[in-house]
Symmetry: C2
Subunit: 353 residues, 2 copies
């Protein structure tokens, strides 16, 4: 459409009646603009995005001013990467992919580069993406050589008949799709190596593991101009996890869910609790079946049901009107929200955003 | 308790007052019986179990009388294996494990021995178990050397802090738990080799794959005397599937779900549709949040929502009162149901059970 519009307003030097051509050209351009707007659901429709960079114990003592600034800047970069796509009429699927990819590439977060290490010292990555239009979904688990697992999850959704691929099979698919593989060492950072070392030492001494500052899955949810919702989540899982352990992030319904008829959710926290509670879908079911507001549904699942079972973590959620809910029952959750009504915020703790 | 009871009524030849001993012995025996009954939630409480051996196109022409009889006998064996556990006061988790293990060991079904083969000719198995009491859950995916994947899923639930283990990591856990591994050839049968050969040939000729008679996941749901629900599912997935593809069976919420507060469900069908629709949890959510009867909830999900998306398959479901729902939108579903009100049935097609 944009190409067509450019052609219509391009100068014409072939000697015909320029006034007539210009009028027709203007008409065609306007039609193209209107069609563009219609296809995007109207430029006046709200757009919104929320992101998280993990929930858990985020120790204020360990969190120096420099470190806090770095997290806030990284969250802002991911938030704005997603929002700029929505603002220019792009899809919610593109927006959540961009936001998550930005955090995967940043070693501060436990996804992609900088992911936590499993018991054997390897990074083992999981990711999922769901398009509320359809709905369609793609997920990968246990991949070790895919730079951006969220992009592989998207390829599973768009170019395979399957929803979920795991391990070597997922990487074979990546190679077929001409995704360039990277060595596992690409993901591993000194900080995560020390985290693992400490946790193995504590395990040997039968100590309770020290909570690790800043671990945590990344995720994004968005509403685009066309009214489509999407959710994406990516993670390295748990430090010192058993080889082959899959948490809630790549489980459609638990860590990731989107449906235009209800809402889109991305979760972060103690994955096993989130799987057993089918957290992401449960929030949408409460909206859809019990007609709770998004805030009330999120509160019910995170502050009541999950807490009762002893599960810690949080979610970001968005509904068809662009209402955003960010809630967690842990000490903090790295998070951000931005919408077309002018909201733009980055927060870490509950009391002091 | 049973051992204690046997001791109490055993003959006593040591010369003490036998009448007195007998009275005390009788009292102890009765107490043991009553405690047994109390532990099991009362002998009068209903128990019930339902099983499936896969849904899909079950061609009546291909299905000879001998073959049909073999399926009915195999289903009855699995049903009764589970029911006898419930009848003697055993747990629903034990009952669904026994029913599914029986079908895993029978090459007629697409689970354990006789599982369908992936594109490379290997059996790649998935299973999940959920205990509605807790709830707790365990799942494995992409295992190639575990004779009874349902038992490994149960070990994940009972002896690991995780819910889901996949691939090699799951098999490492199996070895740690002293599960004896079998060569992949144990699972492979001539019938499944021919199925794969035909499907690869059809793929080469770009033909639509011929539906394969009798493929399909196995599963069981049960209610025990103590009022606990459980669900279990096990599968070899799809013939000619891509290495690493995971369907709905091991996904908690999609192919398998149980919660004492609502219901227990095991699904079978086109896994990708079941994942996107979070089928098993959706049925329980409709029961819990919209107060639909179990039958109405199953109908809504299988006959309305899943059909609208083009998804084919079925579920077995059970609620806290022992009500059973068996429904499918495909040509048939191998299935059975038995309860303490005297119901005992095995069915394949809709019109001619």
């Amino acid at each position: 459409m944009r190409a067509g519009r450019r052609n219509c307003v391009a100068p014409d030097h072939n000697g015909e009646d320029m006034t007539y051509r210009k009028i027709v050209g203007f008409g065609v351009a306007m039609t193209a603009l209107l069609l563009n707007a219609a296809a995007a659901g109207g430029a006046g429709n709200p757009v919104a995005i929320a992101i998280h960079g993990g929930a858990g114990v985020i120790d204020r003592v360990q969190m120096t001013a420099d470190r806090e600034r770095a997290y806030r800047e990284a969250l802002a970069a991911a938030l704005d990467a997603g929002y700029s796509i929505l603002e220019s009429g792009g899809s919610s699927v593109d927006a959540v992919t961009a936001a998550v990819r930005t955090m995967e590439d940043d070693p501060l977060f436990n996804a992609g580069k900088g992911a936590v290490l499993n018991h054997e010292g390897a990074a083992e990555l999981d990711a999922a993406l769901m398009d509320g239009n359809g709905p369609r979904a793609g997920a990968v688990a246990g991949v070790r050589h895919v730079k951006n697992p969220i992009e592989l999850a998207r390829l599973v959704m768009e170019r395979s008949p399957h929803v979920m691929l795991v391990g070597e099979g997922a990487e074979e698919f990546a190679l077929e799709q001409q995704v360039v593989l990277v060595p596992n060492s690409y993901f591993r950072t000194e900080r995560r190596r020390l985290d693992l070392e400490r946790e193995i030492q504590e395990e040997r001494n039968q100590q309770k593991p020290t909570p690790v500052t800043g671990t945590g899955t990344v995720g994004a949810v968005a509403l685009d101009r066309a009214g489509n919702l999407a959710a994406a989540t990516s993670t390295g899982g748990l430090t010192n996890k058993r080889h082959g352990r899959v948490g809630d992030s790549p489980i459609i319904g638990s860590g990731t869910y989107a449906n235009n008829e209800s809402c889109a959710v991305s979760a972060t926290g103690q994955g096993e609790f989130f799987i057993r509670s089918v957290v992401a879908y449960d929030i949408c079911a409460l909206v859809n079946y019990r007609h709770l507001s998004l805030d009330a549904a999120v509160h019910e699942v995170i502050q009541v049901k999950l807490k009762r079972l002893g599960g810690e973590g949080g979610v970001i959620a968005i509904d068809h009107a662009g209402r955003i809910s960010l809630d967690f029952n842990s000490e903090g959750m790295f998070r951000g929200a931005r919408d077309s009504h002018g909201r733009r915020e980055i927060s870490i703790w509950r009391d002091n955003p």
